[in-house]
């Protein structure tokens, strides 16, 4: 295993310090925790947004800390949900008295750990609300769908809503609206290597790809023989469109997300076809982003997210953001 690391056990700690050294004027680390928060947290009169989960998805989640997006991010071990005490520290450090919204991706570990943290916060008199992101259409049962790249839009849009001085309930409702309208599906070309074991997270033959992969290498829909960028784009657009339920004048935001090891060059090749297909189908694209937003270590592949927009979502999507990984 060749990785740019020291001791595997130290990765998270060293990464967090590294993130702070890159943005010392906007992010700080809570001592003896794996929590990063806005330097100026708690922000008076504003609902705080906290996200988090296992590490290995960088720039998620700490890269989205900043004015206009997250107030805090909690990092677990690689692909392992963080513990409730850490989430509680994030809640305590960011609550200004206006309440805290927890953005949780739908994995049983994350849901349970954040739930327990919310119970602990309640015992300390802090008001929290939660939303559970489930945008991955590769899982049939909508209740069981995973939270993947669509989470970034939740951070962006609910974060912008919080900056307007909206109440916890209002911010939660906006976040939920994003969740209800965001759909994602991904594909893996090669697996990621777990830093602790040095082993690949899953098996994929040299000439195989996996459609519908999760961001921790969990099984997708099926393994296929290698496909071209255009073919993969067609497959993902085909599967996503019926799920976003567009009416005539609706517009969408498009996110082409790299999984970690796929060159941006290839993401643009893929995006070109996505845009062509959407145009052919008469879908109006309001905004497009291409890059690595929610990765899976050095997994190769990408995901495509479509977010159906209304006027409120457009305005909030366009609002400024100072987050290191999402400047707007």
């Amino acid at each position: 295993m060749k990785k740019l690391i020291n001791q595997p056990e130290q990765i998270i700690d060293e990464m967090l310090d590294g993130i702070v050294s890159a943005s010392p004027s906007s992010v700080r680390r809570l001592e003896d925790t794996t929590v990063l928060v806005r330097k100026d947290a708690p922000v008076d009169g504003k609902v705080a947004l906290i996200s988090g989960g296992g590490s290995g998805h960088e720039p998620a989640h700490a890269g989205y800390i900043g004015k206009g997006m997250l107030d805090g991010a909690v990092s677990g071990e690689v692909f392992t949900s963080p513990t409730p005490d850490q989430v509680l520290e994030a809640i305590k450090a960011t609550d200004s008295g206006s309440g805290v919204l927890l953005v949780i991706k739908n994995y049983s570990g994350d849901v349970m750990n954040f739930d327990m943290a919310a119970e602990l916060a309640e015992a300390e008199g802090i008001e929290t609300a939660q939303v559970i992101v489930r945008d991955d259409i590769a899982v049939d049962d909508p209740e069981n769908r995973r939270g993947v790249a669509g989470t970034i839009y939740v951070h962006k849009i609910a974060g912008a809503k919080a900056e307007t001085g909206a109440s916890l309930e209002e911010v939660q409702a906006t976040a939920q609206k994003v969740i209800d309208n965001a759909r994602t599906m991904g594909v893996a070309l090669s697996p990621c290597i777990m830093p602790t074991s040095g082993e690949p997270g899953f098996e994929l033959a040299d000439d195989e790809i996996e459609l519908g992969i999760g961001i921790h290498g969990e099984a997708g829909i099926e393994k296929r023989k290698q496909m071209t960028a255009d073919e993969i784009a067609a497959e993902l657009v085909e599967r996503l469109l019926p799920e976003v339920d567009l009416a005539d004048q609706d517009e969408v935001a498009v996110m082409v997300n790299g999984m970690g090891a796929t060159p941006e060059m290839e993401l643009h090749v893929f995006n070109r076809k996505v845009q062509d297909l959407l145009q052919e189908k008469g879908v109006k694209v309001y905004d497009t982003i291409v890059g690595n937003f929610m990765t899976s270590l050095e997994m190769a592949g990408c995901s495509l997210t479509l977010l159906k927009l209304d006027d409120e979502l457009k305005e909030l999507l366009d609002a400024p953001s100072h987050a290191a990984a999402f400047k707007k």
Binding site: M112, N113, N144, T196, A219
Partner: protein, 203 residues
């Protein structure tokens, strides 16, 4: 049967030894139908539990409470809250009591209820619950012995192999989760196998 403070500490230390021996095996099971971290999560957390057992404890409940807090803050993943809740419920159930067979059964009943509630899950979903539930059945029988306890846990663990997962990460594999043991069921088997061992020595 009587489970003393010393027995409880011994139980947890043996469980920790077992987890650290089987860490790679558990992670390998989790790699097949999950994300490959179960062994690492459990070993990391219970190592800390074992290190915290050297103090003075007045009663079994205190040992279990300390275990619960450590597990909740050190394990992470899905197993952290589930095992943490289980130990917390066991601790609450035996507070102020000597732990005999009847109390032990009540403790496991409370723990199982806690796991189900926290995980929003039931028997038959290919999780650790599929070990805890049959074990409870055995503990509730009049005159169970250590050997029966261990055997029940082992058989229950083995039965998860043919089940289809509907909770946790393994659920994404749907029918393809068949043919693999559930990692949480295996670690729960270790927990009860070591409990049986400690009870067996005491009897």
């Amino acid at each position: 049967m009587q489970l003393t403070v010393e027995d409880t500490i011994q139980w947890l230390k043996q469980f920790n030894d077992r987890l650290s021996e089987q860490k790679d095996y558990l992670s390998q099971l989790d790699r097949a139908i999950g994300d490959g971290d179960h062994g690492i999560n459990m070993a990391r957390g219970f190592q800390q539990v074992a290190e915290g057992l050297d103090g003075d404890f007045d009663e079994v409940s205190d040992v279990l409470k300390k275990t619960a807090t450590t597990v909740m803050s050190k394990v992470g993943g899905a197993s952290g809250p589930l095992y943490g809740t289980a130990f917390l419920k066991m601790s609450m159930e035996c507070k102020g009591k000597d732990v005999d067979a009847a109390v032990l059964a009540d403790m496991v009943e409370a723990a199982l209820g806690g796991i189900k509630q926290r995980g929003k899950s039931e028997e038959g979903e290919k999780t650790m619950i599929d070990v805890w539930a049959p074990v409870l059945g055995t503990l509730q029988e009049e005159d169970f012995d250590a050997e029966r306890l261990k055997q029940t846990a082992e058989e229950a663990m083995q039965k998860t192999e043919d089940m289809t997962a509907t909770k946790g990460r393994a659920s994404y594999f749907k029918e393809k989760s068949q043919g693999h043991l559930d990692p949480g069921a295996v670690s729960s088997y270790y927990l009860f196998a070591e409990l049986a061992d400690v009870i067996g020595k005491g009897a």
